[in-house]
Amino acid sequence: MADESTITLEVFRYHPERDSGPTFQSYEVPYHDDWVVLDALNWVKDNVDGTLTYRWSCRMGVCGSCGMMVNGDPKLTCAVFLKDYFPGAIRIEPLVNFPVERDLVIVLDEFMEKLESVKPWIIRDDVNDTSQGEFKQSPAEFALYTQYSMCINCMLCYSACPEIAAVPDFLGPAAIALAHRYNLDSRDQGQDQRREVLGGRDAVWECTFVGECTEVCPKNVDPAGAIQQVKVASTKDWYKRVLMPWGQR
């Protein structure tokens, strides 16, 4: 009979200098019903195996560092409790659809490039001169984009997206949601600069609306919704340019 005070973690291990492929290593971890999966990993690192490598920081669903596959689902390990899996074993893998750097750490380079390509910051034609006062925004204007500004770049949505797996260059849910967030911001004037990246190759039109990105998002950002809205905006924009070319600046 299994000892009720412990729970088994099956952890994905990969050492780039030693291993040609991944292996799984089992650890028996003390079971506490107020522990999250990240607590269990930290216990292993502190008490059993200091070589176990993974990312984490805030422990409170803000930093977006500790995303991993937990029993096949992309999760923030600081937000899933052992009690939800006990007494069964918990299988922990690095986020899928990303190359693995080592153990549970994924390679972020391509994601960072995608994120940067949509210019997720406020773009102004004029230089922000503080002597002129702040750029004002009404509560209604703020409400339009608030949801999409909650993204913590945890990349769970990229792991949930089969399109990312099929087309690795696909811009992806989080980057498009953030682009949409700035396009919707009344203070922003950068839509023209984001148009080509959003409407071009490997961008919104790659999305087939599986919708799983929205399901796994820990911050209720709804990237699937954002992508479809960009499709609508992009279509309207295209018709406007073709039918009313004289309307261009």
Binding site: P16, N97, P99, E101, A143, P162, T208, E212, D222, G225
Partner: protein, 128 residues
Amino acid sequence: MRKPLVRPFPRHWYVQRRAYRLFMARELTALFIGAYLIFLLVLLNKLGAGEDVFVAFLKVLRHPLSLILHVLVLVAALWHSITWFNLTPTVMPLFLGEKRVAGPMIAVGLGYLPWIVVTILIIWGVCA
């Protein structure tokens, strides 16, 4: 030394998660809708070919196999319509001032209600 490990993408990914299976079901219903549109064109063609041809074609359509196919297409069309109507609020969010209009209101207002009204009008038109 960096040696990133690339894991293979499973060929049968669409059976792995419930959400993926539901997605594939939704997408596959489009084939039934497409096939039925072709059928409607054939029906129009037969109608244009004269009464005898059309009546003979209607007789063929009464075959049990044809009825089964029609029921299948009906189920697929319902699945297709309902899943897409339910996604309308995600694609077209509406705001009244600061408040976002509730999803079901949009699904009913832009999807279900016009659908029911048009269906009633068609049935009324056929019966009248």
